[in-house]
């Protein structure tokens, strides 16, 4: 009863969509969650795109899709760092405090990700069949070698060792496939993130960061991979272009930390230099 009551509590706040490499007004009219106007709060030479929103506790699929839609619209005109869904502040000044704290990080990421987009490649393989084949081959090669063993400890150790060898062979086979596929796609990418065997059948979940000018080449590579069927019995799922969700790297270094680090090494950081010149 109390939980149900709590779920209905809502109050106004600032909903955040993305950090962008501009402190200008957004020229096109965009409506965000709840139909509220989306606008940019400038901070130095960057900005955080927000809309006024209720702190609603009941999240629906349409809210998630709306968030993505806004970020993709912004991506047409700006370099974007998408915020994780449902990051809210009470007031604009709170969002600005966060911008102040992370400004260096945001600038570094915006510079690194300028004119780049993310693509996703998921590869499904018949992992269960592959494993069974390895087990069968292993059994055949050991046929006749099985000796009756009265020691339960010995048989336990033997069983574990066999499992280890099967797992190892399974992973080695997966690695061979992944290397072939990754080599193929890496040619067009400037950065990548690889997740191996997240489940038995999900061989590869990869993210590639691609420069805008190579976007079409990368899409063609998708088609070619499908056509030539790299590694035969695999199923490919491609997606993109996406905002660079998987390539944002925050070091959480604040301006204060940067200045302290520079002091430790007796260096003058770019920030200190600007501070000395009275530009910060």
């Amino acid at each position: 009863m109390q939980a149900a009551k709590r779920s209905r509590i809502s109050r106004m706040g600032i909903y955040t969509y993305a950090i962008i490499d501009s402190n200008s007004k957004i020229s096109s009219s965009i409506n965000g969650l709840g139909g509220a106007v989306v606008y940019n709060i400038p901070y130095r030479n960057i900005g955080i795109v927000v809309s006024e929103s209720e702190h609603v506790q009941d999240i629906a699929q349409e809210h998630i899709l709306k968030h993505e839609e806004i970020v993709e619209k912004l991506m047409e005109d700006f370099t974007v760092l998408p915020m994780r869904f449902h990051t809210l502040f009470n007031q604009e000044k709170d969002a600005l405090l966060m911008m102040k704290e992370y400004c260096g990080d945001f600038r570094e990421n915006l510079d690194r990700l300028r004119n780049k987009k993310e693509f996703g490649v998921r590869v499904i393989w018949p992992g269960d069949i592959k494993r069974n084949r390895i087990i069968d081959a292993y059994k055949k090669s050991n046929a006749g070698a099985d000796m009756p063993d009265s020691s339960s400890v010995k048989s336990f150790v033997k069983e574990k060792f066999e499992e280890y060898k099967i797992d190892k062979e399974f992973e080695e086979e997966a690695d061979k496939y992944i290397a072939l596929i990754d080599n193929f796609f890496s040619r067009w990418a400037c950065e990548k993130k690889i997740e191996k065997l997240k489940s038995e059948n999900l061989l590869l979940n990869a993210f590639y960061l691609v420069e805008k000018e190579k976007e079409e080449d990368f899409k063609e590579a998708f088609e070619r991979a499908r056509d030539i069927c790299i590694c035969g019995d695999l199923k490919y799922l491609f997606s993109g272009p996406w905002p660079p969700y998987n390539f944002i790297s925050l070091t959480k270094k604040t301006l204060h930390q940067r200045l302290s680090e520079a002091d430790m090494f007796g260096r003058i950081s770019p920030e200190q230099n600007l501070l000395n010149k009275g530009m910060l």
Binding site: H55, Q61, I64, P82, R84, F89, D128, G240
Partner: protein, 71 residues
């Protein structure tokens, strides 16, 4: 979302959920708290629970063909 190459709506939704709910700029709570007076409300658990359920439901169709994965 119009640009998404994947044809299946379910797969597209899965890809969106994967990114929007779990990736992007994640502001660390303790850092924010240490700023004093910044009240960052982040709905984590509720959204994640529903997203996992959705992903599991979706994963059954496009990824494993509705079959359970072998143990």
């Amino acid at each position: 979302m119009d640009n998404v190459i994947t044809k299946s709506k379910d797969v597209t939704l899965l890809e969106i959920l994967d990114r929007v709910l779990d990736k992007g700029v994640v502001i660390s709570g303790d850092i924010v708290i240490s700023l004093a007076d910044v009240d960052l409300i982040y709905v984590g658990l509720k959204v994640l629970i529903s997203s996992v359920e959705t992903m599991e439901r979706l994963r059954g169709a496009p990824f494993a063909g509705g079959q359970e994965e072998p143990n």
